[in-house]
Point group: C2
Chain length 253, copies 2
């Protein structure tokens, strides 16, 4: 039954490791819905493997999931994932736009969730620091629930990008424990200038390097606002609240 | 070095399974911070195990984590986790309060994240349907980051509780794709009557049984609000946006 060679199985399995994804420029998506979205997207799908064609045993071998789905595709990464000149950064941010900056997000599931949120809130692009986890990590890809095929995503130097945004009369927002209450601040929405909301690392928050380029330091108040003992919010949750508030201002207006 | 018997190791390991947690009334927490919070809380801590006392090998055996932390505690579950009379439900909701209802949340990590959010937003209690995942699941406990020791939590019949809230002139809120824009609705904050915000199951949303008792159907608009192709939000993210909006109304006011 199996119409897949051992070498092919080995090659697909190797894509679970970043090294081989980088070398080949390929990554894996799994599941009917995800594969359908890949095929309908601008991404180039190299090959599709179905359980009824290659057999259950082969499917188990090439899948990264504990219960393999009926279909898996090998997909080519977009070529513009890591822009390599200032001119290219300037072109990407343009004269206006609403962007998300990710400063060293380490958890693959968190990154996937944030991509999904970025899709929901219609971010024009997501810019991640080079030390952010790989977006083509299988866990991240699956956690995006298909948003990976809709959201523009680039690895950049976040300090350099922040400078370009400020240079274009834009704003860089970040949340800090000593920031100012997001609910009472005026917020630029990105309609007239480029605006980026930066999300910090899960445990360290926003790095000093990026922090000193943040033009508006925001704070998400707990409730009641003087309460003690609460952990800070996780990266995906803080991003959610911040983006919802930016978008609410426009929806409400 | 080991000052822990094989029987004890077996007993602690068994607490990774719900069956044994239910039988013994005990659960496990791991990590310096979590154990410190347990000790400082109203929860009764049965025993504490430290790596330097029982040895690294024993620690590996009793831990549910891939890299065991230096300390683990066995903690007694609170006795009021499952109220069993209408009078008890009425007492728990009282005359006012801001509550979260969880309708069949299945993912342990999601539940932990929601408990952490409930803590951040100062919910007076979280009420979960009986088929919601066990809050004492090790993954859930760890994902709460200690919020499990601060947030009141009960397993209930959510339809019955919803009836009691409506009976007390309260409101039951839920988010639905055909609900009304949360940003333009008047929202009761729980200061004058009991208010519950219900979060639905990760894939099915709010059940029909609970849905028909929701007094106010809300909708979280994507952006732009007419855009197509976006997945719905995950349970923790939808809960975050909804709770943030309820709390913003008070903070802003």
């Amino acid at each position: 039954m199996s119409s897949i060679s051992n070498n092919e199985i080995k090659r697909i399995r190797s894509l679970q490791q970043k090294k081989f994804r980088d070398e080949s420029g390929l990554f894996v998506v799994e599941g009917e819905k995800m594969v359908a979205e890949a095929l309908a997207s601008a991404f180039s799908v190299e090959s599709v493997y179905r359980k009824e064609e290659i057999g259950e045993e082969a499917m188990k071998k090439i899948s990264s999931l504990s219960s393999p789905s009926p279909v898996l595709a090998v997909v080519r990464k977009p070529s513009d994932i890591a822009p390599d000149s200032v001119a290219e950064l300037d072109r990407l941010i343009g004269k206006r736009g609403f962007y998300i900056g990710l400063d060293s997000i380490r958890d693959p599931g968190n990154l996937g969730t944030i991509i999904r949120i970025a899709d929901w809130f219609g971010a024009d692009a997501v810019f991640a620091s080079a030390d952010t986890v790989d977006i083509f990590n299988p866990k991240t890809v699956q956690a995006t629930m298909g948003a990976i095929f809709r959201v523009k995503f680039h690895y950049v130097s976040l300090p350099m990008l922040s400078e370009r945004i400020l240079n274009a009369s834009g704003k860089v927002y970040g949340t800090f424990l000593d920031g100012r209450n997001i609910y009472s601040r005026e917020l630029e929405t990105g309609d007239n200038s480029p605006v980026m909301v930066v999300t910090g690392n899960e445990s360290e928050g926003i790095s000093d390097q990026v922090g000193k380029l943040v033009s508006d330091r925001l704070f998400i108040p707990p409730f009641p606002s003087d309460r003690q003992g609460s952990e800070s919010l996780n990266a995906a949750v803080a991003t959610t609240i911040t983006l919802a508030e930016f978008r609410r201002r426009i929806i409400k207006a």
